[in-house]
């Protein structure tokens, strides 16, 4: 399958601050997750695709044409991260306004706005002013304006921010439907699990550099070489540690404070299922079970530590 989006040696500096550093990647049709902690360069990468930012070096191509290009922009839908916009307009007017800027006539833009607001679940609120919208409604409105003109490429910058669990599930379903329709969808997020619900294809940025790209589970597999940390809070950490020490999946145990036990394991799934069972068998109350490194920051830490080790 040919690449829809291409970055060739793209670097971007904001004065002395490095936004992107020599990024070369290709994005094919379907959903791609753009991952990275805050400040990794995700938004910069997206803005390079929308032409809002001109790379200091390198070039961005969409459908083989160099961005910025008005013809390409007609086929692009973009939902930025911002939350405050056009507060005096109603949601429907806001979306129709941007549809008109995409080249639709007034009546057509309005009809499309009504239809797309219905698709994102805002049919009852579309005639209310944007200033009265909740964060989740604003996210849906941004998605509506991004897909209203039937774009081939949809770029979504942190679309889950501010959504409640139900809203997140609906947004994930919407994004999945866009991918299933054959569009190229790039979704940026700093939460790995969210992206995992939508796609297996990811691009990972860290400090403006391309850290990893490809299938999510292949990348996770690399991370599984490192032990996972699981934090257990219990009033009897020594009793629980004694029970866990006999288990083969436990690599190390460490006490943190009076009521916390840190478990290191290379088989997190087995550990998660065994801990509640062992606690019950030994009569140890288990107050909390959390995974402090089950997030993207930990993934990055492992990857960057691995890279440093390799370099050394």
């Amino acid at each position: 399958m040919s690449a829809v989006l291409e970055f060739v040696g793209v670097s971007k500096w904001y004065g002395p601050v490095l936004g992107l550093r020599d990024v070369t990647l290709q994005v094919a049709q379907g959903i791609t997750g753009l991952l990275g902690p805050n400040g990794a360069g995700k938004s910069t990468l997206l803005k390079c695709m929308t032409g809002e930012i001109t790379p200091s070096r390198g070039e961005v191509r969409m459908f083989g044409r160099r961005v910025p290009d008005p013809e390409v922009f007609r086929r692009l839908g973009y939902a930025p991260e911002i939350e405050v916009f056009f507060e005096e307009l109603t949601g429907r007017e806001f979306v129709a306004h941007l549809a008109e800027l995409s080249g639709f006539g007034r009546a057509d833009a309005d009809a499309r706005a009504a239809k797309v607001m219905q698709r994102v679940g805002l049919e009852t609120a579309m005639n209310r002013r944007v200033s009265t919208y909740s964060k989740g409604m604003r996210q849906r409105t941004k998605l509506a304006q991004a897909i209203l003109h039937e774009p081939d490429v949809v770029l979504l910058d942190e679309p889950m921010t501010g959504l409640d669990p139900v809203g997140r599930a609906q947004m994930v379903a919407l994004i999945q439907s866009l991918g299933a329709e054959g569009r190229t969808v790039v979704v940026s997020s700093h939460i790995l699990d969210e992206v995992e619900l939508m796609t297996r294809e990811i691009v990972v940025l860290y400090q403006g550099q391309l850290l990893a790209q490809g299938d999510l589970h292949a990348i996770r597999g690399l991370i599984d070489r490192h032990p996972h940390h699981i934090a257990l809070r219990t009033p009897k950490p020594r009793e629980l540690a004694a029970a866990l020490a006999r288990e083969p999946f436990v690599a190390a145990l460490r006490f943190e404070g009076d009521d916390q036990l840190m478990v290191e394991t290379r088989e997190p799934d087995r550990c998660y299922s065994a801990v509640p069972r062992l606690a019950k068998e030994h009569g140890v109350p288990l107050l909390a079970l959390t995974s402090p490194d089950d997030n993207l920051a930990a993934v990055f830490r492992y990857l960057t530590l691995g890279a440093r080790g390799g370099a050394a």
Partner: protein
């Protein structure tokens, strides 16, 4: 030039096949007509004007303008009716016909001057509200991301903002001018004289609004803080006026007084009315000052917009 389409699931559909039909659920890209990007400024302006009308400040300024129009129309009516009555009665040192002719000429000049004077405060407030904060608010909110990911150029955006910054003030001034011209026609003027006053008045209003809008947008493009941009615009208008008039009086140079943003338009209007006190090379100063303010501010705004990404970095 047609762009290549991305790969999509294909539709296998044969209506005659007894085995059935498989429909593609792939999206269909819009292939209909699209308007030219040249329409973008009008779209930006129309929606901005719609949004502005929902703001309390704009409503108040428009109401103030209508009140001012009513008061000034009454004053002008009284002013214009007295010489007419006096001339008709044959009073004064001039003969009735001469006095009437002078009154007609002065009355037509009044249309220009009063159309500007009547709306100076509402116009200033509307430009302050709709123009001086416009680009700042968009910079602060990051609204360029919506605009510039579409076929909208910074120049198109700026053109739309110029129209929206002066749109409501233009409506108010146009109504004022029309009312004064009709009123003038009702009292003494001929249709030709009233039309001339209307035409010259329109030129004066456009000159005033274009320079105000340009400067408002110029300062607005300098900062993301709407309040700061509005304060800077007010300072340029009023402090500039005070400074130029003080310097003019101090140096004894009349032309220095027409250098500021407000007075340069007054200077041009005085020339249109053949009432200017500037002669020789100094006669060009008001027009050059207007050109400098307008072109300079627009160039500043265009430059700032072209590097807006750096502002957001």
């Amino acid at each position: 030039m047609a762009l290549p389409s991305p790969d999509r699931p294909t539709t296998t559909a044969d209506p005659k096949s007894p085995a059935g039909v498989v429909h593609s659920l792939a999206y269909t890209r819009y292939a209909g007509a699209r308007r030219s990007p040249a329409f973008a400024p009008l779209v930006i302006a129309r929606y901005a004007l719609m949004a502005q009308l929902r703001q309390r400040g704009v409503k108040v300024a428009l109401l103030l303008g209508l009140v001012s129009l009513a008061v000034c129309a009454a004053i002008l009516g009284a002013k214009w009716s007295l010489p007419t009555m006096a001339a008709s009665a044959g009073f004064g040192e001039l003969g009735g016909a001469g006095q009437l002719a002078r009154a007609v000429r002065d009355g037509e000049a009044d249309v220009l001057v009063w159309a500007l004077r009547a709306q100076i405060l509402p116009t200033f407030l509307l430009t302050l509200w709709c123009g001086a904060g416009a680009v700042s608010a968009d910079l602060m909110a990051g609204a360029f991301q919506f605009h510039f990911s579409r076929p909208v150029s910074p120049g198109g955006y700026l053109a739309g903002r110029v129209v929206s910054a002066s749109g409501w003030a233009l409506c108010l001034s146009a109504v004022t001018l029309l009312v004064f011209s009709v009123e003038r026609l009702a009292f003494q003027s001929t249709p030709l004289g009233a039309a001339r006053a209307l035409g010259l008045g329109a030129v004066a209003v456009l000159l005033e609004l274009s320079s105000l809008a340009a400067v408002a947008l110029g300062v607005s493009s300098l900062t993301r803080r709407k309040g700061l941009a509005q304060a800077m615009f007010a300072a340029i208008a009023f402090a500039g006026w005070v400074l130029c008039h003080s310097l003019g009086a101090l140096l004894g140079k009349e032309w220095v007084k027409s250098l500021d943003l407000i007075s340069c338009v007054d200077g041009v209007v005085a020339q249109l009315n053949h009432q200017s006190t500037l002669h020789g090379g100094a006669a060009f100063v008001p027009a050059l000052a207007w050109l400098g303010w307008t072109a300079g501010a627009l160039a500043l705004a265009a430059w700032q917009l072209s590097r807006a990404e750096v502002n957001r970095g």
